[in-house]
């Protein structure tokens, strides 16, 4: 059996090194362009994993208020853990169900319902009862596709390790890339000579070395490129900012404080890292982070982040703009603290419902993409509906629960 080092080299490092060399040849000898192409390729290949990670993170964020409610509700750690697992396993038909209701009713319907069951058929039945109760519409009277759509929109719970799995799979790839860039960038004669061992026996690859390491005025093999450090810091900060904007944690909660700290610590850590590695690796990190930012923006959305929110409150006061609420505050408002009750026999549904508070706002909470401004618009609309004689959904849901 091959030693682990040889396996790693043969099946990961060497293919990547040769790919990198080939890309350099195809990039007209520019190692910098090759790194950028390499980064794009890597992000494209790992995109399904990235998307899973983003979705899993979003799922966990959506459960945050419920989790907090369970933590407060149950003192017994075993019971608490069971309830948490139930919560993870719970199938959900949340805001996507609103789309179904829109089809049935023929008018836009706000997200106003959240499944509490783990059985698909039960969820449909529950949803039918909800539509009948709240909107006076029977799902079976609606076009057949509405039922199908409702079924399709039922998701299979949240895997708490959903973020971890894809990260673990990507980990060896990132380590491999790090070694590849270090190996191929080294410009000392001994290292170039050693590369001979790693190259495949193709003329196009063999004749490519050594590389020109200058790119856009940077020496890619030199350490400490401050421009890249700034780019990495800024893009990571923005990524964290957008992530925390989607977070449903209450302002001031431990989760919110953690998010705020990560917003600064992670970019600082990677900025420092970029400072002490060759600029080629920094270029990879910078490009990768920027692509990640774009992917997050496009596929998950910016949350309540707006460019205007980058203006600090100090400046806003001076120019007459309203002050900013803390990130995640809009969503967090929906997550009212659960009433303290030492009755451990209370159902988790009731516990999470208590945590969710206002039902309509919980719907908003579950859709982290809605902005703070959108929330206030909805509240205004809700108020208008009330004046037109429609009772508020909160009261109705409360009634039905009773």
């Amino acid at each position: 059996m091959l030693p682990i080092g040889a396996v790693w080299q043969t099946f990961l490092e060497n293919p990547l090194i040769n790919l990198m060399v080939l890309l350099t040849v195809l990039s007209f000898g520019s190692y910098g362009v090759a790194i950028l192409v390499f980064t794009v390729l890597t992000r494209v290949i790992t995109f399904p994993l990235t998307l899973r990670t983003l979705r899993a993170a979003r799922g966990l964020q959506e459960l945050q208020p419920d989790m907090e409610a369970i933590q407060k509700r149950y003192k017994d750690p075993k019971r608490r853990s069971e309830e948490q697992m139930k919560l993870y396993r719970r199938k959900t038909l949340t805001c996507e169900g609103a789309g179904v209701a829109s089809v049935v009713l023929g008018r836009p319907v706000e997200c106003d319902w959240k499944a509490q069951d783990t059985n698909k058929d039960e969820i449909i039945k529950e949803y039918e009862r909800h539509l009948e109760r709240v909107h006076s519409v029977r799902l079976e009277d609606a076009p057949g596709r509405a039922v199908n759509r409702a079924r399709k929109s039922i998701r299979g719970g949240v895997n708490p390790l959903g973020c971890l799995g894809p990260q673990l799979i990507q980990f060896p790839i990132f380590i491999g890339l790090y070694i590849v860039i270090r190996t191929t960038l080294s410009q000392h004669p001994e290292d170039v000579l050693k590369l001979n061992d790693r190259l495949y026996d193709f003329q196009i690859v063999q004749a490519a070395l050594p590389f020109d390491t200058s790119f856009l005025g940077m020496n890619l093999s030199a350490n400490g490129n401050f421009i890249l450090v700034i780019v990495i810091f800024a893009s990571m900060w923005l990524t964290q900012r957008i992530s925390s904007a989607r977070s449903l944690s209450r302002p001031g909660s431990q989760q919110a404080q953690m998010n705020q700290m990560m917003q600064w610590m992670l970019p600082a850590m990677f900025g420092w890292f970029a400072l002490v590695v060759p600029a080629g690796l920094g270029l990879y990190w910078a490009a990768s982070t920027l692509i990640g930012l774009v992917l997050q923006w496009v596929f998950v959305g910016p949350g309540d982040f707006t460019w205007g929110s980058l203006i600090p409150n100090l400046v806003r006061e001076r120019v007459g703009l309203p002050p900013l609420a803390p990130a995640g505050a809009a969503a967090g408002r929906g997550a009212a603290p659960a009433p303290r009750d030492n009755n451990d026999d209370e159902t988790p549904e009731a516990a999470t419902a208590g945590a969710n508070g206002d039902t309509a706002q919980t719907g908003e909470s579950n859709d982290g993409r809605r902005s703070q401004r959108a929330n206030s618009r909805r509240r205004r609309r809700s108020g208008a509906r009330q004046t037109r004689g429609q009772p508020r959904q909160r009261r109705r849901r409360g009634d039905s629960r009773r």
């Binding site: 080294s186 004669p189 004749a207 093999s221 420092w272 890292f273 002490v276």
Partner: protein, 378 residues
């Protein structure tokens, strides 16, 4: 109550912040500079001593005799400095890739960190005659022609330095990049090849004569024989160029790996080695292969030598082969216990001297392959 809550939160955050900070430090610690240069300067005989790079950036003059070898002096440690030279200037010296040049009591050295120095060794110890710090790193060995030391640099310059004073003239190469190979000089022309895949001919007094583009970079030292310039390249080809016909190609030979080591010419036979561990005997006039020897897939960087009718080849991992030069049949094989062999050997009457990457000086008997460690470096 509020304060207690805050303190608890702060306490909860502290371990995470510490872990992140430690991770950052660890990442920084692991992510050191790319591999540091070691150097592979060949040993040189100079006035009864052998100059060896025993440690990175340090040359040791070893006096060989019947008894154990002893150190005559060390450079820069024992060097006497002329007025106006700051001792700190010598502290920056990194590794030596360039083989020192000895001429008339003076050793010319070029360090990777860019110092070019002339050291007078006619006295009891080394005396620095002059030092010039260049802006680029130096890998290629300089050549001395007349009173001029020609120094190729990583920046693609071919700088003429007055051997007496160190005064520097204009670069003889323009538009070039990264020289790692020692130039060849003949009469009024100097030939140099670089990693930019170009071979250049220039007048020793200046003025470009011709430029030829190859398909691969050139890292190995050039060999000039009359009108033929032998150039080994990283495109796995050995080229024979006619220097009088603007570098017109006489022949090219396709090998199985990079031609990095300087080839050896003996009569009409050219012995060339590759980084895939092959030794080729080629007809120097036509480039036809006479035989090929390959018993081990290991890089050959050191120049092969022909001593006592045996062709001796050293591989990077310390394996030595004695080969019959007419048939390519192995005569003996020897493996060093420690050290890598990357530097060109020095042929003395007593045998062949190899210096390992540890700075050990190994004497090899070309007839039997017996090895003796004559000096232990670092």
């Amino acid at each position: 109550m509020f304060h207690v809550k805050h303190r608890r939160r702060a306490r909860a955050r502290t371990p995470l912040a510490v872990v992140l900070a430690l991770l950052a430090l660890l990442a920084g610690g692991c992510a050191t500079d790319l591999g540091s240069p070691d150097g592979w300067a060949a040993p040189v005989e100079a006035d009864g001593v052998v100059l060896v790079q025993a440690e990175k950036g340090e040359l040791v003059a070893v006096r060989l005799g019947d008894g154990p070898a002893r150190i005559a002096w060390r450079f820069p440690e024992d060097a006497a400095l002329p007025a106006g030279v700051d001792p700190d200037d010598l502290n920056d010296i990194e590794a030596f890739y360039a083989t020192p040049v000895f001429d008339d009591g003076t050793v010319y050295m070029a360090s990777f960190s860019g110092e070019v120095m002339a050291v007078d060794i006619t006295g009891n110890g080394p005396r620095l005659a002059w030092i010039r710090k260049l802006t680029h790193e130096l890998v290629a060995s300089p050549v001395l022609h007349g009173d001029v030391l020609y120094v190729p640099t990583e920046g693609g310059e071919l700088l003429p330095l007055d051997a007496e004073s160190g005064a520097m003239g204009e670069s003889l190469a323009t538009g070039a990049e990264r020289f790692w190979s020692r130039p060849a000089v003949s009469g009024s022309a100097i030939y140099v090849a670089g990693l930019d895949r170009h071979v250049r001919a220039a007048g020793v007094q200046g003025g470009e004569q011709w430029v030829l583009e190859l398909e691969g970079a050139v890292a190995g030292d050039l060999l000039l024989d009359g009108e033929t310039l032998f150039v080994g390249a990283l495109d796995r080809r050995m080229y024979a160029l006619d220097v009088l016909a603007a570098g017109a190609e006489r022949w090219r030979f396709q090998g199985d790996g990079w031609f990095w080591a300087r080839p050896l010419l003996d009569g009409d036979t050219l012995y060339a080695t590759t980084t895939n561990g092959s030794v080729y005997a080629l007809d120097a006039r036509s480039g036809d292969e006479q035989w090929r020897f390959n018993e081990l897939d290991n890089e050959i960087r050191a120049q092969p030598v022909l001593v006592g009718g045996i062709l001796v080849v050293a591989m990077r991992d310390g394996v030595l082969f004695g080969i019959d030069p007419s048939t390519g049949v192995r005569q003996w094989q020897q493996t060093l216990a420690e050290g890598k062999l990357l530097a060109d050997p020095l042929v003395l009457e007593s045998g062949i001297l190899y210096v390992t990457d540890r700075g050990d000086l190994i004497s090899v008997d070309p007839r039997s392959g017996a090895t003796t460690t004559v000096f232990e470096g670092s």
